[in-house]
Symmetry: C2
Subunit: 254 residues, 2 copies
């Protein structure tokens, strides 16, 4: 067994197919392509559990992040680890986060402390013949780094792209930002260089001796869609959602 | 301004309605009931940003956790904060997590290290007239504590409840666990005593001077549903999903 440092564990009772599978597994249907070099033993990025589901290519990371709106940021404060959910956006080769300058999270980020950001999206529940082999299909990533504050001429444009990532189809649908708003907003970014991606797809992996048991096994898709927009209570009846917003919501849900 | 230690930041550019609102706000429509005592200044649980959205009652925490399947666990390892997504289940007054004994995460949990677990579910995107006031409706929680390993006569029953939380309606739909499976599974639990909950609901909160601008503002619901179960490729045609599973999936999606 190869001992690795990072684990991305999701609903992970099963040693056989979730935990200790070697990098090359006989369960080929669940092996994802991974042309990049696996981080060396001892590297914090190296996935230890279900290592056959680990990916280390930046393109794989981008694909996961481009579907994500929330990241959980871990940092240390007063002797306690903290994990704080916050909105995220991948722009080019950085992960951007923004918030109030006064918050502990953004003070930690802007000061360049070591942080770790994780994202996880559940695509399906995996029902096996044994509870032990139940699982989830998911796309997840863990990113390590030290953030830097963004205070340059690009800040306003980057904040626009941030908002467009979270509420697509709305880039021309706001009043201009005020100087005091830009000043109050801490925008930070993490380089997307130090990370691990882990993805599970496909069927349950039951023990061979369980295959004839009379228990249903399969995939239960979990689907997130955008519902019909609900106008704010103080919106005049004459103002409707833009075509670009409606088109973007349609695309998000298809 | 009251200085608090914990922030749960989600899409949080807006100082006015997201960041620095006092505990009692004039925006009463967004003030949630919170009869419990607010943690004292300096307490790590005390929510600092948008404090009017903070809740400290265990019942509020239970409601959030009972809808959650994934928690992000922060802990320290080799000088780096870690944030690892993993499946969770609230059972009675503890948060349970399980995984391989060999994983770094479960070694940290079982050894009683300080950890922090966060959960976040996005219920809606909040489109305002200004990008600054855009937001999300969400339910989130941050839990602090030191976990303990569960190795007693209840372990098997607790694991059953864990699985039932994640794939409801399946409690009678598995073969019995094997002794080696139980032995290989680390089951840990955190007491649900040291936490903060933060919930946003309702409309965007635009600046009064923006209300007549011709930009749409409102709520875009984000809805997660369970899709039609897909049988495993190796499942005999005669084995169908149980009625209790189908009923539970229906209930999850309604």
């Amino acid at each position: 067994m190869v001992l690795l440092n990072t684990c991305l564990c999701v609903f992970s009772r099963c040693l056989k197919c979730w935990m200790l599978t070697p990098v090359l597994t006989s369960k080929g249907s669940h092996l994802l392509s991974n042309a990049s070099a696996i981080p060396p033993r001892g590297d914090k990025r190296r996935v230890r559990q279900s290592a056959n589901r680990a990916l280390y290519e930046q393109l794989d990371l981008f694909r996961v992040l481009d579907s994500a709106s929330i990241g959980h940021v871990a940092f240390n404060h007063d002797g306690w680890p903290q994990s704080i959910p916050t909105a995220i956006a991948r722009i080019d080769d950085h992960l951007y986060l923004h918030g109030s300058r006064s918050s502990r999270l953004y003070q930690a980020l802007a000061s360049g402390e070591r942080v770790c950001v994780s994202v996880c999206m559940v695509d399906a529940l995996i029902k096996a013949r044994s509870a032990f082999h139940c699982s989830m299909n998911y796309r997840s990533a863990v990113i390590y780094g030290c953030a830097e504050s963004v205070e340059n001429a690009d800040k306003e444009a980057l904040l626009d792209r941030f908002t467009e990532h979270l509420i697509p189809g709305t880039s021309d649908d706001y009043r201009a930002p005020l100087a005091k708003e830009l000043k109050a907003t801490e925008l930070v970014r993490l380089p997307l260089t130090d990370f691990a991606v882990k993805i599970r797809t496909g069927d349950p992996i039951d023990d061979d001796e369980d295959l004839e048991l009379p228990y249903w096994a399969g995939i239960i898709p979990m689907i997130t869609t955008a519902g019909i927009p609900i106008a704010s209570g103080n919106l005049p009846d004459t103002v409707k959602p833009s075509e670009s917003l409606l088109a973007a919501l349609q695309a998000m849900s298809s």
